[in-house]
Amino acid sequence: MLEVSNATLHYGAAQALRGVSLKAGAGKITCVLGRNGVGKTSLMRSIVGHHRLTSGSVAFEGKALDRSAAYDRARSGIAFVPQGREIFPLLTVRENLESGFAPLKRADRNIPGHVFELFPVLKQMLARRGGDLSGGQQQQLAIGRALVMRPKLLVLDEPTEGIQPSIIKDIGRAIRYLRDQADIAVLLVEQYLDFCRELADEVNIMDRGLIVHSGPAEDLDRADVRKFLTV
Amino acid sequence: ADDTIKVGILHSLSGTMAISETTLKDAMLMLIEEQNAKGGLLGKKLEAVVVDPASNWPLFAEKARELVSKDNVAAVFGCWTSVSRKSVLPVFSELDNILFYPVQYEGEESERNVFYTGAAPNQQAIPAVDYLMSEDGGSVKRWVLEGTDYVYPRTTNKILEAYLKAKGVAAEDIMVNYTPFGFSDWQTEVAAIKKFGSAGKKTAVVSTVNGDANVPFYKELGNQGIKAEDIPVMAFSVGEEELAGLDTAPLVGHLAAWNYFQSIDTPENAKFIADWHKFIKNDKRTTNDPMEAHYVGFNMWVKAVEKAGTTDPDKVIDAVVGVSVPNLTGGYSTMMPNHHITKPVLIGEIQADGQFETVSQTSGLVMGDEWSDYLADSKDLISDWRAPLSCGNFNVATGKCGGKGTN
């Protein structure tokens, strides 16, 4: 469904991605792991269109995305939960959720029920400014907002960061539910190994701008794989 | 090049004053073109050097310096506001060149290098007030002196207040009010005028409101229904050009005092207007008093150069005094030794077509009085730039040049 091939990215003279190739299939949860600063976020942002790749390509459902802008990618079904949440601080929680209506047809412009099932706080806080929420609540809002878009590919950059354990579990359940029910592809960046191990169908491990390992989730228990994750 | 005589034109073409000054630049270009058509001057062609001081006073000084020392102009025609004139003054006296200043001003100045072709207060304000006090003018008893808060209105009003009091007007029958530059919300002021005018005595407004603030002022007057028959407004800086931006129908009868109106019916003026329309390629453009001042000033300069046989400023300065040229109101204006000129004073009423109709005119020409007789410290001063006196502020009481002297 999503195919990244040979992606490179530069920040000025510094190179953050050095020829990354990655696949994420529908109905699968694809996990990307790696230490701090190896380029996970850079890769995700390249996929959703925040950064333009220096070379290489990103294809979604067989169509090359390299020339399309972030909003076109979103309209073709890619939803993004960024690291750092990036909710709209002065919009109310409801408005934040409704901002996901843009790519939808008029008839679809409602907030799916499972959003509130997953994150009941959001329902209580609909009228509050997004920016006032606590860090974890914001993270929940960010995920909820992405779900409103009814995505085909959900890109999550460290979604569990700052979230209380019970809700992490809920998020895990939700992601699995989405994969199973709606048959969507999930691309997940995680540091939290246990979470990853539980959810992932495929894992990719990054180090210094490269994917150094990819394979099934079970690989995570191999020592040669884990070495990439230690200090 | 040596085969041309350069003439500097120092009027703002951008910024706040462009609205008034651009016309003067065009007028000068026309005059120069016509002079060239007549064969130029001293057998040479005149060449206009136009610069834009951009309504920025220090830039005026810079541009003046540029004109004189870089472009070597023989004389400069320019400035509108007094502050721009003040800022170029030192340049002209240092570099010993000539400035012709075409706008009415507050007086209290006489410089060797400057020729004042606009009105001094006695050539505008005093006759205007006289008219209002006369029977024809409505025998006004109560006065509102409405002005923009700066030197020209302040000085003029000071002179007027002294004059009115000398004529027996009581202090409570004079209301003085000032507004900032570019003022646009006149509701309160106009209401105050209305109130002041409803005391049972004939009231008039003498307006030294300047520039941009006039249009909203008159619009508000019209809307609040202040009619000229009830409370006439006499303005000193509202001319045809300003009225062009207004629907004058509700303003018919309000007054202005100038030394020239476009409506003046003389052959010189008819020709001038026709030339102007041809030059500017627009029949609707008006002429106005400062244009006439440039017309007069330019012709005086031409004549003086011919008389002196050179454009050397020193010689020309001496030659200009006494030169007499026709003005556009059917008479002759003469350059006096104080570097001010003689002018007729006209009072006009605004007409529905945006023109003025002269309702009163001084019987003869009035000589510009640079040092007002109504201000304590200046009444003893006179100016005479002819040798041997050659002094701009000769004190007749002490008999010394240089104001009071050191006593």
Partner: protein
Amino acid sequence: MPKSNTILYLDGVSVSFDGFRAINNLSLVLDKGEMRAIIGPNGAGKTTMMDIVTGKTRPDAGEVYFDGQVDLTKHDEAEIAMMGIGRKFQKPTVFESHTIEDNLMLALKGPRSIFPALFHRRSAAEARQIDDILGIIRLGDKRDELAANLSHGQKQWLEIGMLLAQDPKLLLVDEPVAGMTDAETEETARLLRDIARDHSVIVVEHDMHFVRELGVKVTCLHEGSVLSEGSLDFVSADERVVEVYLGR
């Protein structure tokens, strides 16, 4: 009052925003030299509590004392920081247009007024201190890079480094390991335990492994007040904590 031996003393503190009670009659005492872990659901008021302690938010009611005698509600951020309370923010905030090294330099303990800063020259001791910290946070090879160019996790580390440089008496650490790998998490726990030997520390975290590794007393906040307090095992056995926080 037994304030005397406390480094931080909160009693009956409440704060509300537009009618929403974020902190509700909260009482919390931290002894000198103690390290405390604070957990609690999202929105429980953990960060807000830190805001109150550091002077960012003024409480509507209640007492907040530092070091047994200083009433913190009477001081502003800078004064409180000068007294020796340092803070790491939940969202890492560093000086993005300065290098890593300068970030640390500005945080280094020392006089905080204009003229000393104007005529400041770096001493050898300071240089050594910076080098040490750079070692600890493993950003030595990036010392001349602009902080803006760091990844999220690296910024977390830098902020911890700045806290170290500040060398405060009391450290408030908000979610230090968010976005760190498990290995780094362990590293951080070790570091904090080190620090806690001669400092007082409050750590907020959602990562239970990390909290466990710290091995200190835990307070669970909920809806602005203390829900449960004790050892981690005690707290995580508390039904209410499981209900609102840990989940099943």
